[in-house]
């Protein structure tokens, strides 16, 4: 069990989301960085669907009310356990009374805290994710506050040797910007040539108004040349909408399920984690791909995830052999 000592009021319990209720208008919620969420769980031998705490803002401090096996993964935040530095993606045991401190984030934007066995919150409509707008799921449907206590599901272990691992790189060869691979959407061709040229060649910055609903960007204004309001249609996390003001918004995990602003492109599912780790001021560059390329990327991502998962599984088995 772990108690929140201090924490900015934005952290929520999440898993891989609550798909399947689109017809009732329920968005999927879930971890903004599903990759770090998975790694935090795999470091502990948890199933990838176990609930974790998503922490988008630090500093934060937690104390362990009993011996607890836990993991952190995601943003670099100078984490310490009773003052001893921990690796960025790390799993191990804390003794009763020890304090986990997360410092300012220096790279990335979200840290995931996992407990062995998974965080024990009730499953609602097939998921343990916090449905922020509807205020249910997760920890009483709300953000965590100082004094809250998170318990692990039954069957947890209380001792473990430390384990850490590396994370796929957030940035590619372009250190100046995070590259997002996108597929053109219904209204792409309706934007002016100058707008499309800017969109494909210029970086767009993440603004501080970004959150789990959407990432609001700042860059060259995008003008649609076709008049007329669109009829509302389904939208999905990753869609890049352009309201009349001309600044694009990438809809994310807590976004609406339907909308009607013109869509210039959509970020592929496999790159959504990069948006989850982008900080205000970070810049995106958009690269156009088609669905067949997206399919190949999806296959490669799955292979990479399998490699990380089996690698961590083997490391855990080797550790058991030594003890």
């Amino acid at each position: 069990m772990i108690e929140v000592l201090s924490l900015p009021p934005l952290a929520t319990v999440q898993d891989l989301g609550r798909p399947g209720h689109w017809a009732q208008g329920l968005g999927r919620a879930g971890a903004m960085d599903p990759l770090a969420h998975r790694i935090a769980n795999w470091l502990l031998g948890n199933h990838e669907t176990a609930a974790t705490l998503e922490i988008p803002l630090t500093p934060a401090r937690f104390s362990f009310a009993e011996d607890t096996v836990f993991a952190i993964a995601g943003a670099a935040c100078g984490a310490t356990l009773d003052g001893v530095p921990l690796a960025r993606n790390w799993a191990g045991a804390a003794k009763e009374g020890q304090v986990l401190a997360l410092g300012p984030m220096t790279e990335g934007a979200r840290v995931y805290l996992a407990l062995a066995g998974g965080i024990d919150v009730p499953e609602m409509l097939g998921s343990r994710s916090t449905q922020s707008r509807e205020a249910f799921g997760g920890f009483d449907g709300r953000v965590l506050r100082p004094g809250d206590q998170l318990r692990a599901c039954d069957g947890q272990t209380t001792s473990a040797k430390p384990l850490s691992c590396a994370m796929p790189a957030l940035r590619g060869s372009d250190a100046d910007a995070i590259t997002l691979r996108v597929i053109p959407s219904a209204e792409t061709d309706q934007f002016s040539a100058a707008s499309l040229d800017a969109f494909w060649s210029q970086p767009y910055s993440v603004t501080p108004q970004s959150n789990r609903q959407g990432c609001r960007l700042d860059g060259p204004a995008l003008q649609r040349e076709t008049e007329g309001e669109l009829r509302s249609h389904g939208i999905a996390p990753g869609i890049i909408q352009v309201p009349g003001g001309g600044q694009p918004i990438i809809q994310l995990a807590d976004a609406a399920t339907m909308g009607g602003y013109p869509k210039i492109a959509c970020v592929i599912e496999d790159d959504l984690w990069r948006i989850g780790q982008a900080r205000p001021g970070d810049r995106f560059r958009f690269t156009a791909i088609d669905l067949s390329q997206a399919r190949e990327i999806e296959r490669n991502t799955q292979a990479e995830l399998d490699r990380i998962r089996t690698g961590l599984q083997k490391a855990r088995e080797l550790q058991k052999g030594w003890s």
Partner: protein, 217 residues
């Protein structure tokens, strides 16, 4: 009119839209398509929008041309699903703090505030689609005289129960959240309750009748 076709809205989600009039007759065809397409291999969900259909897949779909052809064939079949459900009466306070854009809508449409309200409360609206946020109902049948553009910059948060219009659409928000529509009134209704089964109060085919309980100009 929208271009007919199948468009990616994500690597695992596609929207199928048709260049067709925006009315109940055509919406019934999308209801029929949603029912059938949700049974197709690889399709996790098929949800009707406003004379369009959105499909969610477990993986990036392989053959867009084949999907497009099958959807076109289904549309061309002309099959309709005739849903008729309950009628919900909702008391509305038009204008005031809960309807900050009522005056703006009157200006944009060239109508008096009284006329906006009279025209808005006249029809029994059919729930065309449920979406945006949990339990929210997109309604068809708005008087074309009340057509307004979406706001250039969406509002960060609007309380639940807000009655808004945009384009030829109108509806009452089910919970607090961002909105790009013009808000003309407010109501007290619980459109979604996770402890209820089904959680959403209304489904496509149900109807809403607005009752002007109060006007704050």
């Amino acid at each position: 009119m929208p271009d007919t076709g199948l468009f990616p809205i994500g690597s695992r989600a596609l929207t199928y839209q048709v260049d067709c009039p925006f009315d109940l007759d055509h919406q019934r065809r999308f209801w029929a398509m949603a029912e059938e397409v949700s049974q197709w291999d690889g399709v996790c969900e098929a949800v009707p929008g406003m004379t369009n259909l959105t499909l969610r897949f477990a993986q990036v779909p392989a053959d867009l041309d084949d999907l497009d052809a099958r959807l076109c064939a289904l549309w061309d079949s002309g099959r309709q699903k005739d849903l008729t459900g309950k009628v919900l009466e909702i008391d509305i306070v038009y204008g005031g703090a809960g309807g900050p854009h009522l005056g703006e809508v009157a200006e944009l449409t060239g109508l008096t505030i009284d006329d906006v309200i009279k025209r808005h409360a006249a029809p029994a609206y059919t729930v065309f689609a449920v979406g945006s946020h949990a339990g929210y109902c997109y309604l068809g049948g708005l008087d074309p005289m009340l057509e307004t553009p979406r706001r250039k910059i969406p509002l960060q948060s609007l309380p639940g129960g807000s009655l808004s219009v945009a384009g030829l659409q109108t509806g009452v928000s089910a919970s607090a959240g961002p909105s790009g529509w013009n808000t003309i009134g407010s109501a007290e209704v619980q459109f979604f309750d996770v402890m209820r089964d089904p959680a959403a109060l209304l489904v496509p085919g149900d109807q809403i009748q607005f009752n002007p309980a109060e006007v704050i100009a």
